[in-house]
Amino acid sequence: MKLAPVPITLTHCAKTFRGTRVLEPLDLAIGAGETLVLLGPSGCGKTTTLRIVAGLETPDVGGQVRFGDDDVTRLPIERRQVGMVFQSYALFPNLTVRGNIGYGLKINKTEVAVARQRVDELLAMMRLDAHADKPVDQLSGGQRQRVALARALALQPRVLLLDEPLTALDARLRDTLRSEMNTLLRGLGVTTIYVTHDQAEAMELGDRIVVMSAGRIEQIGTPRDIYFRPANRTVAQFVGTINRLAGQWRDGAFETTGGSIVLDRGIRATQAPELFFRPEDAHLADPASAQLRGTIEAVSFLGERTRLTIGGAAPDALFIDVAGRVELARGTAVGISIAPEGLIALA
């Protein structure tokens, strides 16, 4: 019964709810077996997109959803053979763990012996053997999440859809489960769409990331593309921390309040009078020879690193990270040097 992973194609899919356009027409092509992450703040349309692929929403007229060669736009979710994990897990309180995982198999009239074996396999895979016959409300958050996943995988769907599956868990658990999820998804090889607002999840789990904002796709790319080569300010500011230098281009250098940065090959002057870089691409240097000069306005000890807020180097405050053990006082005059490959110019 194993189905080969299918590519998914969305063509011109838009969505309007009660007169408000929540999703602008978008086109998306997902490769077979790929894990695609939809990343963005709440209200950006990522969940709507997921639900359109699932069959819980229909796109506005003109939109089309294809699984491989099949046009599934008109097909209701019951017949699309997708596996879906909901944000709240949607476990059936009236069934045990085993009952939940086996629900899809029962509905599809799978032979009892076959079904039981499949459920046992999944229980083992998810390490839930000890809880098999418990009612689901006795499980912890992490266990419930695994039941939801097992239930979705029981029917060996051709597409796996995950709607913020880790959001409901506390931070520590999330980190552990994130790596487990990563191993699992790579092992399964099924086409997966994963929705999240957490960039760490996006970058660790996605083969490609789609950054969305206000119903539009801002950028599609690999995690490295998104992080090091953001297409615009929205993406740059949403993923990781970004520093902004406002100033002007002059004679092959960028001048700002605290100094000027000589531009190297690879950076071309753009129309916008601003330059960006990430905290980890800058380091403190001797004020005399550094590119920018400023003073420390605030010091935040974060454990493995210390984040310095530097004022005076640029119109906006800059964030620079130094090693955790480094201790500096407020008011210290410092110099900043930025690695040339860390400079980002946006159109």
Binding site: F17, G55, L56, E57, T58, P76, I77
Partner: protein, 274 residues
């Protein structure tokens, strides 16, 4: 959001039986009743009805009685309900169970309870005889009816008051106390305003129930002049269908108006049970 998992045809299919039963056995009959009450010329019939002194006195008495019961019940329930909602004490659960036990008594049983207390062989009569030499018997009059209505109204309203009281934010009262407010001021400025939506809703239900109550009056005496009794008499003793129907409509309209006003004021759906 358009709900794909619950298509329209299923919605209609699942609610149709209930609507069918409702239409056949309430809506249509009520329509018929209105028609009968109009007796061909709606305006004239109703005008005559409303002009009839006896009927209007009956309606008036019913309204006054219901209003009195509502006020008394609200007052008693607030006093008692606040205490019950806030204090924990030994036997609280039993006390609450006892207080709400009479909730499901039909009017007849309530009438009987009033007779037990204030009838010819009632407890109050016996006590008053011993204390004052005068036997107090008031079950078979408006007073008895008043106490009967109080009997079935208090459990219902107390329950609502308690529910509202538990939602009160204590820190508001503590802030008022820190500013020097007396208990009366706190009650007047903080507690009652916060309780008022619940009180209005409960009061409306209490009023509506009292207006339409029949069993209690019936048990106590068939000549107590409240509208439901008048309707009953017209129907059974005088076989006067038109009048009975007309008065019922009037009673229904007045009741519904009170509930509608209360609902608009508080924004919640209320309904009476008698």
């Amino acid at each position: 959001m358009h709900d794909i998992t619950f298509p329209l045809r299923w919605r209609i299919a699942l609610i149709a039986p209930a609507l069918a039963v409702f239409a056949a056995f309430w809506l249509l009959p009520m329509g018929m009743l209105v028609q009968v009450s109009a007796d061909g010329h709606a305006f004239d019939t109703y005008r005559a009805l409303l002009a009839n002194g006896r009927y209007m006195r009956s309606l008036g008495a019913t309204v006054v009685l219901s209003a009195a019961v509502t006020l008394a019940t609200l007052a008693l329930s607030v006093i008692s309900g606040l205490l019950l909602a806030r204090r924990e004490f030994f036997g609280k659960r039993t006390l609450l169970a006892l207080l709400t036990f009479p909730l499901a008594f039909p009017g007849v049983v309530v009438g009987f309870m009033v007779i037990m207390l204030a009838g010819r062989q009632g407890l109050i009569g016996a006590l008053s005889l011993r204390l004052t030499g005068d036997k107090w018997v008031f079950a078979y009059s408006m007073t008895g009816l008043f106490f009967g209505y109080l009997y079935f109204s208090i459990p219902r309203v107390i329950v609502t008051v308690m529910a509202s009281a538990t939602k009160l934010d204590r820190s508001l009262e503590e802030a008022a106390r820190s500013l020097g407010a007396s208990p009366w001021q706190i009650m007047r400025d903080i507690v009652l305003p916060a309780l008022s939506p619940g009180l209005i809703a409960a009061g409306a239900v209490c009023f509506a129930t009292a207006m339409g109550a029949f069993g209690t009056a019936f048990t106590l005496a068939t000549d107590i002049d409240v509208l439901p009794m008048t309707i009953y008499t017209e129907f059974t003793l005088n076989a006067n269908m038109v009048t009975a129907a007309g008065l019922t409509i009037v009673l229904g309209v007045v009741t519904w108006l009170v509930l509608a006003v209360a609902r608009n004021v508080t924004g919640s759906a209320v309904a009476a049970t008698a």
